[in-house]
């Protein structure tokens, strides 16, 4: 993952509340087996209407999206984050995010910034014709009008973003601790290793006959 320290530029001043992941990327786009090319389907139902914000030339290619409460609610599809990234969006600012979406966003280098509604209202106004800057070092959102809004960010997520860390690689390095935990489970909760599925109802069972 590419390190992210700052996102600066035009922002879509959308402000829409309860934007669900079916709106970000409808299900028929989910039949892909790769992460690429989903920008074409991003906000498809919104973009079907003339005069929509995503096809407004003023905001074309904006790296920031300003939204309302509960952004990314609904389905766990990471395709929503992939679609935003493919559209060129690397930061979303909203009063709240769904927990699953926010995790997916960070894993794809998209910064999910939580600010109070009053700050969002101000940014929606400024972003009509001015750029916005999100800085991970200072954890602030600023505008050319000297607005300065501080935000909080989970320390680990911030570190992963700023250093572009490979989370799986980090965890694999903890192999000894994981093996030790597994040994404890085998001793204290032996049933956890589990019965395998009834092969007669499976058709195919891995490594078994």
């Amino acid at each position: 993952m590419q390190p992210v320290t700052q996102v600066s530029g035009t922002a879509y001043p959308w402000g829409q509340k309860n934007v669900d992941t079916d709106v970000i990327i409808p299900a028929h786009w989910l039949k892909t087996v790769t992460r690429e090319g989903l920008g074409k389907g991003a906000f498809e139902t919104v973009r079907a209407k003339p005069g929509n914000i995503f096809d407004d030339p003023r905001y074309h290619g904006a790296p920031i999206l300003i939204a309302g409460d509960n952004f990314g609610c609904g389905s766990s599809r990471e395709h929503a984050a992939w679609a935003l990234a493919d559209l060129g969006i690397t930061a979303v600012v909203a009063p709240s995010f769904s927990d699953i979406f926010s995790g997916n966003a960070f894993k794809n280098g998209i910064v999910a910034v939580v600010l109070p509604q009053a700050a969002i209202d101000r940014l929606l106004e400024v972003a009509q014709d001015q750029p916005v800057t999100i800085d991970l070092e200072t954890m602030t959102v600023t505008t050319p009008y000297q607005d300065r809004f501080s935000f909080e960010l989970d320390a680990f997520r911030r570190q992963c973003l700023m250093e572009g860390l490979d989370e799986i690689g980090l965890t694999l390095a903890r192999d000894t601790a994981i093996s030790k935990y597994e040994a404890g489970v085998s001793e204290h909760r032996p049933w956890m290793s589990g019965e395998r599925a009834d092969a007669s109802t499976l058709v195919e069972s891995a490594g078994r006959t």
């Binding site: 509340k17 309860n18 669900d20 079916d22 709106v23 409808p26 299900a27 028929h28 989910l30 039949k31 892909t32 087996v33 139902t45 309302g68 409460d69 509960n70 609610c73 609904g74 389905s75 766990s76 990471e78 995010f97 769904s98 927990d99 699953i100 995790g103 997916n104 894993k107 989970d154 320390a155 680990f156 570190q159 989370e167 799986i168 965890t171 694999l172 903890r174 601790a177 994981i178 935990y181 597994e182 489970v185 909760r189 032996p190 049933w191 956890m192 290793s193 589990g194 019965e195 395998r196 599925a197 009834d198 007669s200 109802t201 499976l202 058709v203 195919e204 069972s205 891995a206 490594g207």
Partner: protein
């Protein structure tokens, strides 16, 4: 050991901490991982690209559900019928290939055990109390019905779990949802969860793990609890728990993948230690008196847009929040509804009985009770889609399929079907569906489709009357 009283969530969390980082993030062990065809291909590709293997294939189970057409899968001679959509075929083939390559048990589309991943887990006994269970699907919260800490994850997390059997997580806040009272005649677990979401809102549970408590939850069957926990995510909560009890143990005993013999006894002894201790504190408690709930349904395009079947389409101006007023106006336009219209005057075109929320045997029995001796109204297209091959087999043994078919419903093969518009079962643009699924989002059941979320009995009532109807007028106590 501290003697501080703990909640069910805190106990499960504590038993799964592999390591705690200085910043408070914990490496949490994952006991069970369900995999389906839509959110896994990129995860397997990631493993392959980095030369990584699956750490615990024995704790992983794969089944296709989202893409599968629900029309017959074999011809008269038993040969497998082809799937028309090449993209679906590509994704389904990828799941089969990936599970074979990485040594994961795979339930094939034509296997008796096949079904919706959240129906399969509990009925196989793969889902167990006190476990951490994940799946690349937000309705994984369903498994919380058995006292498992179960939540949906994205594809990067699917890859992380496949490679390491862990996830890096921060502890959530806790919210108790206590439901007491007495359920009236015709009121089902679906009505209870719609009432809860109507009360807390679609973002009410964000950042929290819910625990459902109270007499109504204790008296519910596992099927009912699965319906409730399933929709935790529609209230913004990634997970929702029900404490394991004798109902849970009776349900699990003898299930194919549940512990056997001495293991069973040891497991039950452990499971009995899990319920929340007296005096344990939740960050928030919400109470609901279920005594006066009427059959509920949704009127708008968010699951929080809940109204009683005896009510009317709300006036957008009646909402205090300006953003909600605006959203309500857009919802009514999309839904083709006018404020003040009686819900029971709204005609419907489609009925969908199925999905991971409401496709289990009790759901089908409730719908069949309404359908029996009646007929689907003219012009209405009604589908019944069992949640798994085993549910289908049980329903057919009870004769439910014959009740549905003679009433004019279509009796289908198991899958996600009309819940999410990823397979041929879709609601056409501008048409209206009474659906037992979990999401009424714009375009969820197909572009331009209009969804009203209801219970299985209410869906069957809509099917036979051709409009949104109060099931209590059709069935007597």
């Amino acid at each position: 050991m501290s003697s501080q009283p703990l909640t069910l969530y805190e106990k499960i969390w504590a038993d799964h901490v592999v390591e705690r980082r200085d910043d408070g993030t914990c490496l949490i062990y994952i006991d069970r991982h369900l995999v389906h065809e839509v959110t896994s291909p990129q995860a397997f590709a990631g493993l392959r690209a980095n030369g990584r293997s699956v750490r615990r294939p024995d704790l992983t189970l794969a089944v296709p559900d989202h893409n599968l057409p629900t029309t017959p899968r074999r011809d008269a001679s038993g040969a497998r019928l082809p799937i028309a959509d090449p993209e679906s075929v590509q994704q389904l083939d990828a799941l089969k290939r990936n599970t074979r390559e990485f040594g994961i048990d795979y339930i094939d589309a034509i296997a008796a055990a096949q079904g919706i991943v959240h129906v399969v887990g509990p009925e196989q006994g793969f889902t167990l109390p006190g476990t951490t269970l994940v799946c690349g699907d937000s309705h994984t919260s369903a498994h919380g019905a058995l006292g498992a800490l179960a939540f949906g994850i994205g594809t990067s997390e699917v890859e992380h779990v496949l490679a390491t059997q862990t996830l890096l997580l921060s502890q959530s806040k806790t919210m108790e949802i206590r439901v007491d009272g007495t359920l009236g005649f015709g009121i089902t677990p679906k009505d209870v969860i719609l009432a809860i979401i109507g009360k807390i809102g679609a973002a009410g549970g964000t950042g929290h793990v819910l625990e459902y408590t109270g007499s109504i939850i204790r008296e519910m069957s596992i099927e009912g609890r699965l319906t409730v926990a399933n929709m935790s995510i529609e209230g913004g909560a990634r997970a929702g728990l029900v404490a394991p009890d004798d109902t849970t143990f009776a349900y699990l005993k003898g299930k194919p993948m549940a512990p056997k013999g001495d293991d069973w006894d040891r497991a039950v002894a452990y499971w009995r230690t899990l319920p929340t201790d007296p005096g344990a504190r939740y960050d928030r408690t919400v109470t609901l008196d279920a005594t006066n709930i009427a059959p509920l349904l949704t009127w708008g395009t968010s699951p929080e847009d809940v109204v009683a079947i005896t009510g009317t389409v709300p006036d957008p101006d009646s909402f205090a929040d300006p953003a909600k007023r605006d959203a309500a106006r857009k919802s009514l336009e999309y839904m083709g509804l006018t404020a003040g219209t009686a819900m029971q005057d709204v005609g419907i075109d489609y009925v969908f009985i199925g999905s991971c929320t409401n496709s289990r045997i009790e759901d089908l029995r409730a719908a069949a009770q309404v359908a029996k001796g009646r007929h689907v109204a003219d012009g209405v297209h009604a589908l019944v889609v069992p949640g798994s091959g085993l549910v289908k087999r049980q329903a057919e043994a009870e004769g439910l399929d014959r009740i549905f078919v003679s009433a004019g419903f279509e009796w289908r093969e198991p899958g996600c079907s009309m819940c999410l518009a990823m397979n041929p079962d879709k609601v056409p643009p501008g048409l209206r569906c009474a659906s037992t699924s979990n999401r009424n989002f714009v375009g969820r059941q197909g572009p331009g489709a209009r969804t009203h979320l209801v219970s299985p009995a209410m869906a069957a009532a809509a099917a036979v009357t051709g409009r949104l109807s109060d099931v209590r007028d059709l069935v007597t106590a």
